[in-house]
Symmetry: C2
């Protein structure tokens, strides 16, 4: 007995032996089938089927074969926004026969670093990243490893990297302006994760709009819990600049505000008109239905994936680019201007 491997998967050699050819011929067939005589191919295919042979991807990668795997690191898979991103990326990748490795960084920079490290070890062909922190080094580490990266949803300023984002500042500016045009004089801006660059831009958009209109800027930088937001809300509603409208910088902020407002008898939009950044599934089931700045989640994810895959397959050494997608102000009831 020559082979005593018991529990192992069949290899190329096993197939070759059974088909009475050399392993390289089998390899050729598996990778495209050129230069193999039809009858030989048939024999080999039969052997593959009989043995249930599956190519060993690890060996392939080791040989320097294009890996056909891209990594995707998102802050939190449990958040439906990022879930949608993951799904969209995955679909694009699969359509171009790439596999996707998705991991969640749990919004922690150290976890992110660890995941990046693992991605590099696994020699992924490319990496899609929604950066979790404000530190640029993780991205530089990837680039130094020679792995193409595309950032999306969030970017870090001053970094040579492909990115796909929405026009955060302008969208927020428009949202705030919408509220201003409806006569609101005191508009609250409810922040969340405001250390992140895109969130900063959203706050800035709001600030530009109110400043331009000569209105006071009322910013709560960091909405954390329902209770904290509630307390802050009560304080503000009794203050001199009692807000009559609010702009929430992301869906977490929106949801916190709504949850805090209800038990405190602040009616929306009667007492407080609300516009939120980020649409979400339930926004139309809420009473009142929430007016939001809708981001093109799927398109953004798809674009990012496409850019990465193009860079991989076309091996284009073009310079890095930033794609900025526009958003849509979806007017529903919570801003008080619909029927």
């Amino acid at each position: 007995m020559k082979k005593s491997k018991v529990n192992d998967e069949p290899t190329l050699d096993d197939v070759a032996r059974m088909a009475g050819v050399s392993s390289i011929t089998v390899s050729r067939l598996v990778n495209g089938g050129t230069r193999v005589r039809p009858e030989t191919a048939k024999k080999i295919r039969a052997a593959i089927a009989r043995l249930g042979y599956k190519p060993n991807e690890a060996a392939r990668i080791l040989k320097g074969q294009p890996a056909k795997i891209i990594g995707l690191i998102v802050p939190d898979l449990a958040d439906s926004f990022y879930g949608a991103c993951a799904q969209a990326v995955h679909e694009v990748a699969r359509s171009r026969s790439y596999m996707t490795v998705v991991v969640g960084s749990e919004c922690k920079a150290d976890v992110e670093s660890l995941e990046i490290e693992m991605m590099i070890r696994r020699r992924v062909a490319g990496l899609l990243l929604i950066p979790t922190g404000v530190d640029k080094t993780p991205i530089q580490v990837i680039q130094k490893a020679g792995i193409p990266v595309v950032c999306f949803d969030r970017t870090l300023p001053g970094l040579e990297v492909d990115s796909v984002v929405v026009n955060n500042r302008d969208s927020s500016y428009e949202a705030a302006k919408h509220l201003i045009e409806h006569g609101h004089k005191n508009i609250l801006c409810l922040g969340n994760q405001s250390n992140l660059y895109p969130i900063r831009l959203r706050i800035q958009g709001y600030e530009d709009a109110v400043r331009e209109a000569g209105l006071p800027s009322i910013v709560v930088e960091q909405a954390e819990t329902v209770d904290a937001v509630g307390a802050e809300l009560v304080r503000l509603m009794q203050s001199k600049h009692r807000p009559t409208a609010a702009f929430c910088v992301n869906n977490v902020a929106s949801q916190l505000l709504l949850e805090a407002a209800a038990p405190r008898r602040y009616q929306i939009p009667k007492h407080l008109a609300v516009i939120g950044f980020d649409d979400f599934k339930m926004a139309t089931l809420l009473k009142p239905r929430l007016t939001v700045v809708r981001q093109p989640v799927v398109e953004m994810s798809r674009r990012a994936a496409s850019i990465l895959l193009d860079r991989l397959t076309l091996s284009s050494h073009s310079t890095t680019a930033t794609v900025i997608l526009s958003t849509e102000l979806v007017i529903r009831e919570s801003c008080g201007c619909a029927p």
Copy 2:
């Protein structure tokens, strides 16, 4: 010049050469650091740092090293329920220094097969699966490849496989009974993906409850679109057995019902008391707040991951087991019995 590789990552040999030792010594240090003299270790570590060496996972796997990667296949990453699963699994895996490869099967059996194939090729150590279809062969394929599998959230009857699920029938029975106890005589059951085994069980739980109470069974098997559900709803509300309550078999069904009811002026719970299977983030923001059967998503996912990892690390050849977790009926407003 011996080495002319330019763009490649540094290897173990590069490190070894720089540190003036053999590659195996470096390997030993990297994998635990036993049997290496402290001073040697220091030299090697310096070299690793200077070169930015990252172990090549592919080579490791090829050598038959335990892969430390598990796969997770969920139906749809964009669904927050499965997103939460993915996040939870991922956290458990990471805590035991396993990496997770997550992919979405898009609820299509053929995509699922393809993803499974890829997982096997990549030689993942184990696989967590939320089966998408009703076919058993995909799972058998995995098992034949010698890869441990754990199914969760859904199982297929009559299959030798570890699984973690909730007691679907009993939970639904209790939910229906709750409605019955509040005097409802005509209770609608709104189904979705009713070909799936767990959904079948939920419908059965409902049917058992109404039959036992001598009430009519009103089942809509397949809720598809808001419009279709709306039309059906109108039809039912004008029929002889006008339902005064509804049980929705999953969150998709719940959301469809709510969206369909609102514009048709069916008030909840006044005209229709509602209990949904699956809790979701927004359930408490809805008006009325939705009463639901809450599944322990996180615990279920964690358990599944733990079982798989135990099987991998302890290499226990124990027989397969099915863990059945219980659910919780979270009573809010939509069922009409709370203040």
